[in-house]
Each structure stands twice: as C-alpha cells, then as structure tokens.
Symmetry: C2
Subunit: 182 residues, 2 copies
Amino acid sequence: MGNPAFSAWAAAHPAVTVATFAQAAAESDLIVNATSGSVSIEALRLAGAENLAGKVLVDIANPLDFSQGMPPTLFVKDTDSLGEQIQREFPDAKVVKALNTMNAFLMVDPHQLAGGDHSTFISGNDEDAKKIATSLLEGFGHTDVIDLGDISTARGTEMLLPVWLRLWNALGTPMFNFKIVR
Amino acid sequence: MGNPAFSAWAAAHPAVTVATFAQAAAESDLIVNATSGSVSIEALRLAGAENLAGKVLVDIANPLDFSQGMPPTLFVKDTDSLGEQIQREFPDAKVVKALNTMNAFLMVDPHQLAGGDHSTFISGNDEDAKKIATSLLEGFGHTDVIDLGDISTARGTEMLLPVWLRLWNALGTPMFNFKIVR
C-alpha cells in the first residue's frame, strides 16, 4: 500500500515501542481499540479484562464482514453493535465509541480536510469517560464532537459505514467526512 | 401534530386534487413513492405495474420497522434495500432512491437550512432517470447531489436512518442534514 517497512518506520520513531496487548493495556490509562472489528473482542480478551477495568476504552473499530467480498457488510447491526458487544464483554471498562466514521488520517488530523470543518460522534454510558474522549478528540483538532447518547447509539455510527464505502467509491477518495449541518 | 385538518388544507390548495394510486400513476410522467416504507410495495401494486412501466420512480421511503417500539429498526438492510425490493418488484420502472436522508421540509426546500449548503444522494440503475431526478432535486434547490451508483447503493443511504434518528434525539430538532465535506 506504499507504506514503509515496519523496521524503517520503527527506526524513525524510537519513542514508539512494541508490547503485547496485555502489557500495553496494563501500562495505559486510556486504551484505544484500533483492531479489526472481527477480532476486537478476541484482542481485548488478550489485553485482559483486569487491565481494562475502570479505564476509558475508546473503540474506533467497525464490524466489517469481508467474507462475502466487496463491499463488506456488517456482522452486527441495527439491534446491537460492536460497541455494545465490547461493553457487555468488559462491563468494568468505560467504552466510548468514537472516530469510526472517517479514515485514520482524519481521525488524528482533521485539519487535513476543509480546515477541520466537519463532525465526529461519541457514544457511551459513562459521562466522565465521554468527557475524556471528547478532550482527546479536541486535542486532535476536532471541533464538532456530537454526543449521541449511550453506547447503543453506536448502532447509528457503525451503520454509517455502508454509505461511507459507497461514497469512497463515488468520490474516488477516502479523504471526506460527514458534517452535520444544523 | 399541529397540522391543519385536510379539509382546510385542501380548500387552501384547490390545484391539488386527490386521486387513487392507480389514477395518479397513470396520469403522471414521474412518480414519487412517499408512502411509509412498510407498505410501499403494496401501495405501488395498487398504482399498477403497467402505470409505472418506463417511468422514473423516485423512491424517498425508508424501511422503518416500528413494531418493537422506538427507535425503529430497519426491516431490510445491509445485503438488500427497500429501493432494490421496489426495483425487483417493478423491473420496468426506473427506480431512483433519493431524498430519504432528510426531513420533508428540507427535501423540497433545502435553503431552509444553512442556505442549502448540505448534500443529498441518488442511487439507481438508469443513467437518464438519475439525470431527471437530479434536475428535480436541483429544482428544489439542492446544490450537492451525489450519484452513489446503482440501486444497490441505496443500502448505504437507507442505513443512514439509525444515526439520523439518534441525531434528531441528540440535537433536539429534525432540521439538520448531512454535508459530505471533501
């Protein structure tokens, strides 16, 4: 995909170290689930429920099912969501669904597009955890963080993926985002 | 809901007449399916396949299932869509999915919000029909009509409804819309 080899990237970024899921989770105050949606719960089990308990867990994964080819479908939707599955599996973690509606470049640097004039969403059951997640997003440069409500509202943002994928195809670029005009 | 009685509305709009589905479809060059999604195919059968054949059929319905309470779920999604169901049922109609991602006020008068600076989508198999639908939308004042592709891309726009409903709740108003920033 045009990315440098990991060995070259790692040499250029000596402050970033590699750890097991469990080590990374144990040593972190805030955890980001950036694994593929289809293996997220498995990866978080490897991280260890005890290392997630009481912590903010920002879930940016999407429940994409590529098993039937392109475009992918969703393996959970409408009456449940990946965010809710993770919250149920790890009830002591404070899951906040966020950032799953844009590509990785825009997640961490929204100013790359239209000066950052677009929207992002959060869903979660814990108000303090949503405040912390919002601060993280604002630190990245997001200016319109919309709190949709409890973790069940992740059904809405995860179900944005099908139109996101069609827009990628129609526009010929993944460098776009939703802005909620109101 | 604060609407005037139909008799009062009808007296104030004498140019708008009432007809059966079949009469309305037979006398029209372009047909808009604005029925509830759960009865759309039934209503279009009453309109009559012979009255739809060869015509542009703009489908603005959503497959909302209110049977389990609020918020509604979708009775078809992800691997199929209401737009596709209608196209399969009436193969001689030229179905164009459009306008289903905003409220009725914005459908016909997008300038009511942010001077019309937001987006709308079309999906359909017939290129000429999509051109006609685009002209209709531009006539209403829409300035950013995004052609997502064939009718299967209606899966994407119909699956926008769950986040639309959560946004309505979070924002406290249905007067908002998606803008695709790129």
